[in-house]
């Protein structure tokens, strides 16, 4: 990915008013920069980010024919887009920019050590220049969106979403596995909280999709396969033994939920046990005629608490009491959510519904035609006679939710509900999948909430559909097919399912990365045993160039610590430490990587071989990874590397992996201080670079004998 000919790098040194120039000796830095390979221009500016500054950068690009720009100023996290825009206006690709953070990492944090700060600024700029010289240019991905939508599920949410999308003129395929539309609401009597008729409610929604010219309704059908790239999913639907195939650009998942079945512990002679929906079907026929009715919010698992179940129990207790004022109606619950309708609670109390609150750890039991419950409110055990026991069972996802989840690669939570396929990355750096979840498929919701969610999903889907094309400049991974050995390790390593094996030359299959799914975490490039996967940005080469540059010039005689920081946590924490002017030792050189998944043991070893005295790795807290589990991969790898280093007789204290919080500058400074203290105590390493490249050393023998004395 080296550009043709020698790169022409322009370096702009920002004074930032006097914020940088007060601490960092910019004239020394300027002289040093001018001598760096590839640099054709080194220019000092009062403010690179001001209108004048950006204007001068644009002019310099034209005048000197620069093809790479390095700005030594402040953090790329906030000012990067500003410079990228200036480059674009001057006709360069935005990815030709490298921002070196000398303000947050030198000027603001080494105020008492101007010499150290200047030397560090020099190193950081050298690292930036070295990276810029070989920097890979991001390619952009563009995909067309097929103007059609698939709605899975014909319940309240699905009907609403289908009607809304179709009203804007996009064809919609509405797939429902039952023979009739309507979903759960069709089985209800009245709706919470206003008591409108459920059948009227759902009939209105069904009418809105029936006879709509853009909607094709497929009842009694199941989705058997969804494949294809983002923007053009190929859907296969089975209906009456026949197979239908069509293409859509967006998928709305509205598969809903169902009442779980009551367990056998409630089966007892003489007591009629029914679920809330059975009660609702029985109510119109006046079937429930009993003197003692107990409704109970059944929660086998406190986490399964749903407002919907509690609301249904409340609604139905009230309905029963209204119909049969003479019956004794009791409502047993663990915890009634505060967002239940206060008016209904009051009416229920006024009519004489008795409320019992039980402790979640002491579940009520059914014995001798009565429910025994320890009432938390009164502080005593109560025995409530029961002829009919109505259970409000937790709502659970349908059984086929799992198969849809794997078809769409949309994750589900531990209860089986869908999680919105939204990964926390900078928008624009990846393509939106066009898959949206609404209604109870998400989590149990009321009918009204389902309508809102249906509208919301439809609005998002419409935005997706009307965009026509999607484009992004993803920091993606690419496979060098000539190096791929076809082992398939990368397929398992990809948290986004972007990699698949395809037939290659000869007997080997080669891995293929779907650029529209790749988020650029770089995990595959680390696991690849043949190093056949290369990142477009922050490639191994770039990182190695940075490591080399960081360790090239050492004049202060102090141990040199290299820090590889994930941009979502450690790098952000370093920025914050700068903004808060927290001081730390100046012999740390920071390299920004996209994710802890990029903490490649090879890179760490390379750094040690090149003379780093300590390597600090900073990733996101467990569970906070923006790429799902990059930090856990890193933990595993570094643990192994620790063992290997120990085995090779190398002090593994020189390598430290830390979880850093992006909003805790103090923690970052503390970690750096402790680590630098440790390294200074250990002294410089005695590893000497023999010029032998690491890649050529046989695996398993990490440090060739003779290198560690």
């Amino acid at each position: 990915m080296v550009t043709e000919g020698k790169p022409k790098i322009g370096v702009f040194l920002c004074e930032c008013g006097r914020e940088i120039s007060d601490t960092v000796e910019l004239s020394t830095l300027g002289q040093g920069v001018a001598e760096m390979p590839g640099v054709v221009l080194s220019q000092r500016q009062a403010y690179c980010c001001s209108k004048v500054g950006l204007h001068e950068i644009r002019q310099a690009i034209e005048k000197h024919g620069l093809d790479r720009v390095v700005v030594a100023g402040c953090t790329p996290r906030t000012h990067g887009p500003l410079f990228e825009k200036a480059l674009e206006e001057a006709g360069l690709r935005p990815s030709c920019l490298e921002v070196v953070n000398v303000r947050e990492q030198c000027a603001w944090v080494h105020v008492d050590d101007p010499e150290g700060a200047t030397e560090k600024a020099m190193d950081l700029t050298r690292m930036g220049v070295a990276k810029a010289a070989i920097m890979g240019l991001r390619t952009s991905i563009q995909v067309d969106v097929t103007p059609a939508a698939l709605v899975i599920g014909g319940g309240t949410a699905g009907l609403t979403a289908a009607a809304t999308v179709a009203a804007r003129g996009f064809p919609v395929m509405l797939v429902e596995k039952e023979p009739e539309l309507g979903g759960q609401v069709a089985r209800l009597h009245t709706l919470y909280p206003r008591g409108e008729s459920a059948s009227e409610f759902i009939k209105k929604r069904i009418r809105s999709v029936e006879g709509q010219e853009h909607i094709r309704i497929l009842t009694g059908s199941t989705v058997t396969d969804i494949s294809g790239p983002i923007g053009d999913y190929q859907v296969t639907v089975a209906r009456d033994g026949k197979i239908l195939e069509f293409h859509v650009g967006t998928v709305i998942v509205a598969t809903g939920a169902r009442e779980s079945e009551p367990s056998d512990e409630f089966r007892q002679d003489g007591v009629r046990v029914m679920t809330q929906s059975e009660l609702e079907q029985a109510l119109p026929e006046n079937e429930v005629n009993a003197g003692h009715v107990v409704t109970m919010v059944y929660e086998p698992d406190p986490e399964a608490y749903s407002t919907v179940a509690a609301a249904t129990a409340l609604k139905n207790s009230l309905l029963l009491k209204r119909r049969h004022p003479e019956a004794a109606v009791s409502l047993i619950f663990n915890d009634l959510s505060s967002d239940l309708s206060a008016a209904m609670m009051e009416e229920a109390r006024a009519l004489g519904v008795r409320f019992y609150s039980y402790d979640g750890r002491r579940a009520p039991r059914l014995a001798n035609k009565a429910v025994e419950v320890f009432d938390r409110l009164r502080g005593e055990a109560a025995t409530i006679p029961a002829e009919v026991l109505v259970l409000a069972m937790p709502l659970v996802p349908h059984d086929d939710a799992m198969s849809i989840s794997s078809m769409l690669s949309v994750p589900v939570d531990k209860h089986g509900f869908f999680l919105e396929p939204n990964v926390r990355l900078r928008p624009g750096s990846f393509l939106p999948t066009g898959i949206f979840v609404c209604g109870s498929a998400h989590y149990p919701v009321s009918a009204n909430e389902s309508v809102f969610q249906g509208y919301r999903a439809a609005a998002r889907a419409l935005r997706h559909l009307s965009a026509g094309t999607l484009a992004s400049q993803g920091p993606g991974a690419q496979v060098r097919e000539s190096l791929c050995v076809g082992c398939g390790t990368c397929v398992e390593s990809c948290p986004f399912g972007a990699i698949s094996m395809v037939p290659g030359r000869g007997m080997l299959s080669v891995s293929k990365i779907d650029a529209s799914l790749c988020k650029g975490c770089g995990n595959c490039s680390v696991v690849c045993p043949a190093k056949a996967i290369v990142m477009e940005t922050s490639s191994d080469k770039e990182l190695i160039a940075q490591i080399d540059a960081a360790l090239a010039a050492r004049t202060d005689g102090r141990p040199r610590v290299l820090a590889l920081l994930c941009e979502w946590s450690g790098y952000a924490a370093a920025d914050l430490a700068g903004a808060e002017r927290r001081q730390y030792p100046a012999n740390v050189r920071i390299i920004r990587v996209g994710c802890a998944a990029r903490f490649d043991p090879y890179l760490v070893l390379w750094a040690f071989l090149k003379g780093a005295d300590g390597v600090l790795l900073g990733g996101c807290d467990p569970g906070m990874c923006h790429y799902i589990e990059g930090n856990r991969w890193a933990a595993k790898r570094i643990e192994t590397l620790h063992h290997m280093l120990k085995g090779a007789g190398f002090d593994s204290r020189r390598l430290s992996l830390q979880w850093l919080k992006p909003d805790d500058g103090a923690q970052f400074v503390e970690v750096v201080r402790e680590f630098v203290d440790e390294i200074e105590y250990l002294g410089p390493t005695i590893l000497v670079d023999t010029g032998q490249s690491l890649g050529a050393s046989p695996q398993g023998q990490l440090l060739p004998s003779g290198q560690s004395v």
Binding site: P411, N422, R426, V485, T489, A530, D540, A579, G695
Partner: protein, 227 residues
């Protein structure tokens, strides 16, 4: 290029720049809080006011949003400007008594103790976080809601939003340190990604393995820049 007079100095500025930008470019410092180079100016903190000569006499304008005009005469440190800034600093200190940046600013303006007390919350509603979220990150996860005393920064409908990507740019950019990661997390519906981590190893040999015939190529790919 246009030319204007700031504090008695003739300065030149690019057309379209603000008085603040023209001043900073020439080393004339004007205090700001809600201004950020990477964002569109907003003019909410009123610390950057300067005195501008107009046909109807001197007038205070917010220099971050006021365009530099040819022949304009501005004073950045007159008595009128100082009085205004002192009052602004005092009110800011009342609004954010614990914020270090505000305390320093107030001390610089000669304000010791605010005469009123407004809130315990250090948010000064400068809108930097909201603008950064929209303009730099592009996520639009937060906005300023309500008016007057109840105005605050909040996600849509004050419920957790998937729009937030947890980048913590707002935490970094907040001048008073009023935003913390917990706020960011509570403004987002946090998903417990249900993925079990398993140590995965090469299927062929059970370890990370490097094929001998590939060594040369790998060595090349690892050896750094080609020279």
């Amino acid at each position: 290029m246009i030319s204007l007079t700031i504090d008695g100095h003739k300065v030149e500025a690019l057309e379209g720049s603000s008085i603040l930008e023209a001043s900073r470019e020439h080393g004339i410092e004007i205090p700001t809080l809600c201004y950020h180079e990477a964002l569109e100016p907003y003019g909410s903190c009123r610390l950057c006011v300067v005195e501008l000569e107009t046909p109807r006499g001197p007038r205070l304008v917010a220099s971050c949003v006021y365009p530099a005009e040819d022949g304009a005469v501005a004073k950045t440190d007159s008595e009128m400007v100082q009085a205004s800034r002192r009052m602004t600093a005092e009110l800011l200190l009342a609004a954010a008594p614990h914020a270090k940046a505000i305390q320093e600013l107030a001390t610089r303006m000669g304000v010791q103790e605010p005469r009123v007390s407004l809130s315990d919350n250090d948010c000064i509603l400068c809108g930097l976080c909201v603008r950064a979220c929209a303009e730099i990150v592009g996520a639009n996860a937060i906005s300023l809601v309500h008016r007057g005393f109840s105005k605050e920064v909040s996600p849509p409908f004050e419920i957790g939003s998937n729009a937030c990507i947890g980048c913590t740019t707002c935490v970094f950019i907040c001048p008073t340190g009023a935003i913390k990661l917990e706020d960011v997390l509570s403004n987002r519906s946090v998903h417990d990604w249900a993925s079990d981590f398993q140590a995965r190893v090469c299927k062929i040999c059970g370890d990370h393995y490097l094929a001998p015939e590939l060594k040369a190529q790998v060595g090349e790919s690892l050896a750094g820049p080609e020279v």
